[in-house]
């Protein structure tokens, strides 16, 4: 049974959020956007916790084939759902059961379990931490570099334009927003020529260009050229990141 999309995307302008909007744009699926204001902790409000008990973006709702609502969180799981349900022609995925399908999942998990969390920690210690901890900055910047090195070598050795099978898939889309903001984590993309070329190749895709500006314009590249503005933005973010951390710590002591 084919399914008519009825998707609402709950998101904000972050590397994880644009994974889903880019996937939707690449597949030309109509969707509604509901923007969450992380600086006001909207993602911790009861109505949203009903959708995602983990209180994180992105999340989606859709009407499933049984006529009922399906609520999904975890960007990787959402992307797998979208291609399984709406990418019957395998535009940005591979046919289930094929070698390429499993390899695509392998790199998708590499992003979700490796690049995302580690680069996220580099962001924390580089931009948001309440005190400067040189060890933390180095640990996570180095781990992000190591992971970038794994992709860079893979692209070089496989002589492929994309991560798997010479086709842009959800594994590539999952990485793009993070690689595009490498500088925010203090990592210099110029150290990884193959990865940099891949980043540009991805950016040239109309689906990536359209999806990256959801729900707000994607301005990381401009921001990374402006040191003063970067520091100003980090200072603003630091306030609500630390407030959120305190809130979580308080709750966890209950």
């Amino acid at each position: 049974m084919s399914q008519q999309p009825d998707i609402t995307l709950y998101t904000t302008q972050t590397p994880n959020g644009i994974k889903v909007s880019i996937t939707l744009e690449e597949l030309s699926i109509p969707y509604k956007v509901q923007k969450l204001d992380i600086s006001k902790n909207t993602q911790k409000e009861p109505w949203f916790l009903e959708i995602n008990p983990n209180g994180r973006i992105p999340a989606i709702t859709d009407t499933f084939t049984d006529g009922k609502t399906i609520r999904l969180f975890e960007s990787g799981s959402i992307m797998q759902y979208l291609v399984a349900t709406y990418d019957k022609d395998h535009k940005i995925s591979f046919e289930p059961g094929t070698r390429e399908f499993y390899e695509m999942n392998n790199w998708l998990f590499f992003q979700n379990a490796g690049v995302g969390p580690m680069q996220g920690q580099a962001n924390h210690f580089t931009r948001y931490a309440p005190e400067h901890i040189e060890y933390g900055v180095n640990r996570y910047q180095n781990e992000t570099r190591r992971l970038y090195g794994v992709i860079d070598k893979h692209l070089k050795d496989s002589k492929s334009e994309y991560l798997v099978g010479n086709k842009c898939t959800i594994a590539d889309i999952a990485h793009w927003g993070w690689v595009a903001s490498a500088g925010w984590a203090g990592v210099d993309i110029d150290e990884f020529p193959e990865l940099k070329a891949w980043e540009d190749r991805m950016a040239a895709r109309p689906g990536v260009e359209k999806g990256r500006h959801v729900p707000d314009p994607h301005k990381i590249k401009e921001l990374l050229k402006d040191k003063a503005k970067m520091e100003q933005q980090a200072a603003e973010a630091r306030k609500w990141v630390q407030a959120g951390m305190k809130d979580d710590a308080k709750k966890s002591q209950k």
């Binding site: 999904l72 499993y102 998708l108 979700n112 901890i133 966890s252």
Partner: protein
């Protein structure tokens, strides 16, 4: 007949045992290649896993090699869980199960790992980092506790691969944040009951016996480090000295 699946692992860490536990539950034949941690980041292992991490599997039945636990688990379920012992045939249930598998690999594993690093493995005590990761560990347990309210399993009414994926990290919380074993799930009673349901299964005992045996073969303590070594700096110095001596 199914040829055994080769599982490459170093026995200390929790991630390889996620995969072995699933193989035990599914009753799929497998053989373990246990090797020392010193060899994880160099050839020939990096030809199998370019990321230099364990586990990795090679399945001679299909000729595939995979090295992210999440991808390995999904692969094993699709190929070998034909009777849906640990999964649902229903597509909606399956997507919900995958959602929790992703939560494990991106939310539980990496953050629990950092908690262990700053509490135990790193020689210098960085209090704000310890607080950060201990608090995140508790937050993740809180999310699971909410989801498990009034339920025995994460999705539907039976155990799935998503439930099992959380067991190996949860089981060692006491050694990650250095609390008493009985305080591991303090304040998270749903999580505790759920965890006990899983570790009372025969598959768990089999995995832990195998782990103990493989650790012993390598002269490792339960915390994964050789006898006489108390933190990661000392361990790295020892590995370097051993490598020099064998030249």
């Amino acid at each position: 007949m199914t040829k055994p699946i080769k599982v490459h692992l170093c026995p200390a860490g929790p991630n390889p045992w996620k995969v072995v536990l699933l193989l035990e539950e599914l009753g799929v034949p497998y053989e373990i290649n246990s090797f020392p941690f010193q060899e994880v980041k160099s050839k020939p292992y990096t030809d199998i896993n370019p990321n230099g991490r364990v586990p990795a599997i090679e399945d001679r039945n299909t000729g595939i090699t995979l090295w992210e636990t999440g991808a390995i688990i999904l692969y094993l379920i699709e190929q070998y869980d034909i009777t849906h012992k640990l999964s649902y045939p229903d597509i909606k249930q399956r997507h919900l199960t995958n959602q929790y598998l992703f939560f494990q690999v991106s939310g539980q594993g990496p953050y629990f790992g950092q908690a262990g690093w700053f509490n135990v493995l790193h020689s210098e005590k960085v209090q704000s980092a310890i607080d950060r990761y201990n608090s995140e560990l508790k937050r993740v347990l809180g999310v699971l506790d909410t989801v498990l309210e009034g339920k025995e399993w994460l999705v539907g009414d039976k155990i799935t691969y998503a439930d099992l994926s959380f067991a190996t990290w949860n089981d060692r919380i006491d050694s990650l944040i250095l609390c008493a074993p009985e305080d591991k799930f303090k304040g998270f009673l749903n999580v505790q009951a759920w965890h006990e349901r899983m570790i009372s299964r025969p598959s768990w005992a089999t995995c832990m016996d195998k782990r103990a045996q493989l650790m012993d073969e390598q002269g490792l303590l339960p915390n994964g480090m050789p006898k006489g070594v108390s933190n990661m700096e000392e361990y790295e110095a020892k590995m370097k000295a051993d490598a020099e001596a064998s030249k």
